[in-house]
């Protein structure tokens, strides 16, 4: 039990592994996703997409497409009549805004860009029509790699620009840093790369737009994490007032960030429904999702870190380059990866001096959007590799060097060199616990014993701090024209004493219907099964920013708790008339409002609800109306933390990496539902292992994605992911209402660093540096061979 709660109620439901309310419908196939929604007289959309990575469009011919049976119409750029594309903005002088056209009419900037939208009476006919659209191209030299994009004299991806840099920020600057690096006794210097990935949600993008003539309103059902953001974008582009656009997210089968931005297809389908006066549905397929939906994670870090002889970090210099693809994502912009990386790179470590340059570089590839963890899996991998390299250089144990550098209990609140304030966490404690569980002290002998048998085994650690629950002040520092932050919850008790919790957050698989009900249930003294959580509908929920950046438990949960406390007060106020006692003398528990000290003087919550609604004659005059409460919550941001540990064995002949053990010691403050938290950790670790060992979107020199199916883009399955042992520490957040910290992204953040360090440890005697993700068997095998032949290799 934590002591910072404003709650007068004992916590009965928070902390329990309640079964997820969502599971029955999802596990029995009765969920309602966008594609499950049917409408009479509907049209299906399919897109003719560019087969070139960079080209000028000479001509688009739609005659053949119009002849395909079932095709109703084909819309091209010239039919859009000057409707603008999506142009997200940062209010920074270093930022170059670019517009993502809805349909391309002139310049193709990545393979898979939509050129024409075909509307037909069946999905098959729509695809036949899309195939029959003829596009004549004048190919341009594609700008595919970071190196090419940054090279002198390379063609600019966006005409009118002199280079391919959309954002270039030096922050913080530190004129003395070079001197410190020159004079430091230990300097580690390396370049790190991470592969491009897709969030690859199980449900791909999908939307259904229809025009409601009765209310003269556009209704868009879309698979999104951010209904209100989608509403703003569509309202702006279509020139409709916001109240005439309703956006609904039904069940959403995962998003991981790919759906916290607005896709042009969502806007186009809305335009089509408005024009045709008929419902229009688009359901993305997997190949389209891989070739046209947002990517992320392709980054390079040139890092230099200085340490003293005792292994204490003195200074860090990083030059961060993010390949953001062809456009900025709405609303976050292409700054989301580089700015996150620069601001939060120091992680859980005490860093006296820091210099960072962060750039967003545009290429002829699919645009980047935030993907679970957003840069943190990459810079944590970099920091943790730097720690490991420094330890090796000094001859120090991997745990010891971290022990000397993590921020400790007496230093909180700690302010980082980028001005971010860390609330208390358990950085040292999680490290010690993980080291103990992994038996780190006896590791070296085990590794040497294995080597003497010709086996390559390694142990790796990864410590990280995960900033979550970003409120307005935190986001405002990014300088986005559209700045997310706080969120709202509205609770309403019905005449039977049941409660509807409406929130602006928008769960898409995380179990919010369960956890938010647990939070409200404790405050209202009723069973969670009497609480319905409503989310994902701009008509029926209070204004809010949706679900991303590990914000919902902290912000949505905080708003829910505040509103629940207010509603409980209101229930007591009404009950005080029925019980003839002062509201302050009442408590609510097990569905009853009772007089403190006299448990038999009670009235049921249901009776209170009934009195307010249908028996107002029992109450004093003026006690009419409803039982409801609305509250907002906007925290400054709070840090979760964890240490991950991994043991791997490498097959030197095939280069295969097998994970023999995986341990997570995490601290997300008060755990609302341990089962759900552990599920989030496991899913996150699986995606992190994917970054470390499996997934990479690869473009060839022509700008074609060559990994465009799940046979080539290797999402690991349950067969590849080992059992994950999870341990919890609880450092309650001091200002999050519930004591909880966000934790939706942590698993993805820790795994790449832990796996890379374990692989590096296994190969430490071979001089192989593991500085590039993913670590693939062919490269690993080649490095082992090369090292045996010639010595040190950068993998």
């Amino acid at each position: 039990m934590h002591d910072n709660s404003s709650s007068p109620q004992p916590e009965k439901w928070v902390g329990k592994s309640m079964r997820r309310v969502e599971d029955v419908r999802h596990l029995t196939g009765r969920g309602l996703f966008v594609d499950d929604i049917e409408r009479p007289w509907i049209l299906y959309a399919a897109f003719a997409r560019s087969s070139f990575g960079a080209a000028r469009i000479k001509e688009v011919t739609v005659e053949e497409a119009l002849k395909v049976p079932g095709v109703e119409t084909v819309i091209t750029s010239s039919d859009l009549g000057g409707i603008p594309g999506l142009e997200p903005l940062l209010e920074r002088p270093e930022f170059v805004p670019v517009t993502m056209p809805l349909l391309v009419g002139e310049t193709i900037r990545h393979a898979g860009e939509p050129v024409a939208m075909v509307l037909a009476s069946s999905p098959h006919a729509a695809e036949d029509g899309a195939e029959a659209v003829s596009i004549e191209y004048e190919p341009l030299e594609p700008v595919v790699s970071l190196d090419a994009a940054l090279a002198e004299g390379t063609r600019a991806v966006h005409e009118g620009m002199n280079d391919n840099v959309l954002l270039d920020v030096i922050d913080p600057d530190d004129p003395e840093l070079e001197k410190i690096l020159e004079q430091a006794p230990v300097v580690v210097d390396a370049t790190f790369d991470s592969g491009r990935q897709s969030a690859a949600p199980m449900e791909m993008r999908a939307c259904l737009a229809e025009w409601d003539a009765r209310e003269d309103t556009l209704i868009l059902h879309t698979s999104t994490q951010v209904p209100y953001v989608v509403r703003t974008a569509i309202s702006d582009v279509l020139g409709l007032p916001q109240q005439r656009v309703r956006v609904v997210a039904p069940d959403v089968g995962g998003g991981f960030g790919q759906k916290c931005v607005v896709g042009r297809e969502e806007v186009l389908v809305s335009i089509a429904a408005q024009r045709m006066g008929r419902p229009v549905k688009w359901t993305e397929d997997r190949q389209e999702n891989l070739t046209a939906a947002f990517h992320g994670r392709e980054q390079r870090y040139e890092a230099r870190a200085a340490f003293d002889e005792e292994g204490r970090l003195l200074a860090l210099r990083t030059d961060i380059v993010c390949d953001v693809g062809a456009y900025s994502c709405y609303p976050f912009t292409c700054g989301v990866e580089p700015l996150m990386a620069a601001a939060e790179m120091p992680g859980p470590y005490r860093l006296p001096r820091y210099w960072s340059r962060a750039r967003a570089v545009t290429t002829n590839k699919v645009p980047m959007a935030p993907y679970r963890g957003v840069s943190r899996p990459q810079f944590t991998f970099v920091m943790e590799r730097l720690m490991q390299k420094a330890a090796k250089q000094i001859g120090m144990d991997a745990v010891e060097i971290r022990r000397r550098n993590v921020i400790t209990a007496d230093e909180f609140p700690y302010e980082s060199p980028t001005g971010i304030v860390y609330d208390p966490g358990s950085y040292l404690e999680s490290l010690e616990k993980c080291a103990e569980v992994m038996d780190a002290s006896g590791w070296e002998r085990k590794r040497e014993d294995a080597r003497s048998e010709g086996r390559l085994v390694g142990l790796g650690f990864c410590c990280f701090a995960e900033r979550t629950g970003y409120g307005t002040r935190a986001f405002a520092l990014r300088k986005m024209a559209i700045t997310p932050g706080g969120d709202n919850a509205r609770l309403r008790m019905d005449p039977s004493g049941h409660v509807i919790v409406s929130v602006g957050t928008c769960g898409h698989g995380q179990g919010h219907q369960t956890t938010l009900a647990q939070i409200a249930a404790d405050q209202l003294g009723i069973n969670p099964d009497r609480i319905t959580v409503r989310q994902g509908d701009t008509e029926s929920t209070p204004y809010g920013w949706g679900t991303f950046a590990s914000r919902s438990a902290v912000i949505g949960g905080g708003a829910t708790k505040k509103a629940a406390v207010m509603l409980a007060e209101r229930v007591k106020e009404v009950a005080s008339h029925l019980l003839e006692a002062a509201p302050g003398d009442l408590s609510i528990e097990d569905g009853k409002v009772f007089v403190n000290g006299s448990p038999d003087r009670f009235v049921s919550v249901a009776k209170v609800a009934r009195a307010v609604h249908v028996e107002p004659h029992l109450l004093p005059e003026g006690e009419l109306g409803t039982l409801d409460a609305t509250a907002g919550f906007d925290p400054p941001g709070t840090f979760s933390n964890a240490t991950h540990g991994a043991v791997v064995e490498i097959d030197p002949e095939t280069g295969a990496v097998r994970i023999d053990r995986y341990v997570v010691v995490e601290d997300c403050g008060v755990v609302i539902n341990p089962m759900i938290v552990e599920g989030q950790v496991r899913g996150g670790v699986a995606q992190g292992i994917a970054s470390a060992l499996y997934e990479q979107l690869i473009y060839n020199d022509e700008g074609q994605l060559v990994t465009s199916t799940l046979m080539d883009y290797l999402i690991p399955t349950t067969m590849e992911i080992p059992p994950i042992e999870i341990f919890h520490l609880e450092t309650p957040c001091e200002f999050s209402e519930t004591g909880a910290k966000g934790m939706g992204e942590g698993g993805t953040i820790g795994a790449p660093g832990a796996i890379a360090n374990a692989v590096a440890d296994a190969l430490s005697h071979l001089g192989i540096e593991v500085d590039r993700l993913p670590i693939t068997p062919d490269r690993l095998r080649a490095a082992i061979k090369e090292s045996r032949a010639h010595g040190g290799v950068r993998l």
Partner: protein
């Protein structure tokens, strides 16, 4: 990922299937388990004008050992091979059962068929490799009746076989038991096609190898026999040294492709390693057999 339009027919006998193939012309395809064909149609990589669905011909689901050889009905699901228990079959053909675990994922193994995989002719498919390794014969029926095609003639290139457009495989025959055979494969994920796969069969007398067969998958457009590796083994005293040499010999003579999963050099290394491992597994069966006796 919706297929181009096609006509759908259902056949309930082999004769009916062949008749329909003849009527529908060269662009018609048979649909069995659909585990490769349907995906390729959804990608529009293939566009058959018509499908003749033969899934309902249940007479073609069987695994029969008669005396020496083994007969597998063309529509037998992979899962049947994976779970077969008949000691008469397992004695000579346990390699089929142990190789079945490499075939795709569980749902693929329950739906996909033995004959379907052979007809699809992916050069790294386990059944195609074992057919080549063990000199299997495909029993096919066409408008002119039945004929037999040996594996060495059957596989002609990527997804290309000696089958005529109006012919259907009804059975695959493995003529002789192969008690000392094994298949090893390497893929980055369980269930994927192997980047490289190696299948071996040995005829052993005491510690000496009288004859050997070595087949590689994933290194060429067909399951590839490697006579150079076989020669290393023939007449040699079996053991890790000669196994390694056989693998290295194979690595020298193949000309595998390079792609995002690995370079040609990596595939050569894998070929050597997997041949060595498959030989080790095959020989371990000698010991198992001895222990069983």
């Amino acid at each position: 990922m919706k297929p181009a339009a096609f006509e759908y027919r259902k056949a309930s006998t082999v004769e009916e299937a062949v008749e329909q193939l003849t009527q529908l012309g060269d662009d018609a395809k048979l649909l069995a388990g659909g585990q490769s064909l349907v995906a390729m149609m959804n990608f529009r990589l293939v566009r058959p004008s018509a499908l003749v669905d033969v899934k309902g011909i249940l007479d073609l689901q069987y695994v029969e050992a008669n005396g020496e050889g083994l007969k597998i009905g063309a529509l037998t699901p992979h899962r049947w091979i994976e779970t077969m228990e008949d000691p008469g079959v397992l004695e000579g053909f346990s390699v089929l059962k142990s190789a079945a675990r490499w075939v795709g994922h569980y749902p693929i193994r329950t739906l996909g068929t033995f004959g379907g995989s052979i007809a699809h002719a992916d050069p790294s498919a386990e059944w195609c490799m074992l057919a080549t390794l063990l000199d299997a014969e495909m029993v096919v029926v066409g408008p002119g009746g039945e004929r037999m095609i040996p594996a060495s003639d059957f596989f002609q290139g990527f997804f290309t076989t000696a089958l005529e457009p109006d012919e259907m495989i009804i059975e695959v025959r493995f003529p002789e038991p192969a008690p000392y055979a094994a298949l090893q494969e390497f893929a980055r994920r369980a269930g994927d096609y192997g980047i490289v796969a190696a299948a071996v069969a040995l005829d052993l007398q005491g510690g000496e190898c009288r004859s050997a067969r070595v087949v590689l998958g994933g290194v060429s457009d067909v399951p590839l026999r490697i006579p150079e590796a076989e020669q290393v083994l023939e007449g040699a005293d079996i053991g890790q040294e000669v196994f390694k040499e056989a693998g290295q010999e194979a690595a020298k003579v193949i000309d595998p492709p390079s792609d995002v999963q690995g370079t040609a050099e990596y595939r050569r290394d894998l070929a050597a390693t997997l041949i060595q491992r498959a030989l080790t597994e095959a020989v371990a069966k000698v010991k198992e057999a001895a222990d069983a006796r």
